[in-house]
Symmetry: C2
Subunit: 151 residues, 2 copies
């Protein structure tokens, strides 16, 4: 299957700037603190219009994840009380392609700097893409999740 | 900025199978027709537990997008009636990193095959990641969008 694939190499369009550098089991709490995304100045113009959205989707590279030793099944978020799941059924950063996807509130845009709330990425994470959050496309009503999920 | 980046090369974890091969201006209508995602058989076990979710997030490589000639600003979906926007304020496939993100309904899982509804990807698109859709994390209430958006 891999043999038929086109070359897929990513380039950072920016970087996450914040005061957290180390992976932590309290990773989701990172989202409570505002952080900044610094976009490459050559791409500043590509952000025009983004300030009209309250929320944006950030795709970033989880550069501190361990994908050398990839387990196919894990306890979700290390929770031993929850049943073991395939890694595609959980949001662990340890996955074949370390792409993180987080929807965040856009607090402010100043030129090539986006100030956001809700980004659970570490300082220095390469940013891969910014997309506008479209509720009619990105949000689903009546979604069903298994009982081990704590919403 | 790029000089400080780690090596970021993607590997396909699977491929989209459907009857649409050509890019089209009616791209979003692709979602109305069910399609299949064939995951690499070596990763089948990593899908275990996914069948407990009604919706999943598919990250895929938009292999037919034109990123050789990258415009920083475009009319959204080619709509000349809508104001020109930066490419990070629209969902055009012509972006620095051609990663598509679509949330779809999971109709069925059979081993390494996922049958889904709502996937606006072309046949042959390399699949990069599958994540469970978590409403409490992925959906945002009261999101604001500009007036040119048709939801």
């Amino acid at each position: 299957m891999a043999g038929k694939s086109p070359e897929m190499t990513l380039k950072a369009i920016g970087v996450v700037r914040r005061s957290f550098r180390e992976p932590s089991s309290e990773r989701l709490n990172l989202g409570e603190i505002a952080s900044e995304i610094e976009i490459d100045p050559s791409l500043t113009e590509a952000l025009d219009g983004l300030e009209d959205f309250s929320h944006i989707i950030v795709l970033y590279w989880m550069h501190r994840a361990n994908s050398e030793r990839l387990s196919l099944k894990v306890h979700p978020m290390g929770r031993k009380d929850a049943p073991v799941q395939g890694i595609f059924a959980v949001r662990t950063p340890n996955r074949p392609n370390r792409i993180g996807k987080t929807t965040v509130r856009l607090l402010e845009r100043r030129g090539n700097i986006l100030r956001v709330q809700g980004l659970d990425a570490l300082d220095g994470s390469p940013v891969l893409d910014i997309k506008p959050y479209l509720p009619g496309y990105d949000s689903k009503d009546n979604a069903r999740v298994p009982s081990w999920i704590i919403n």
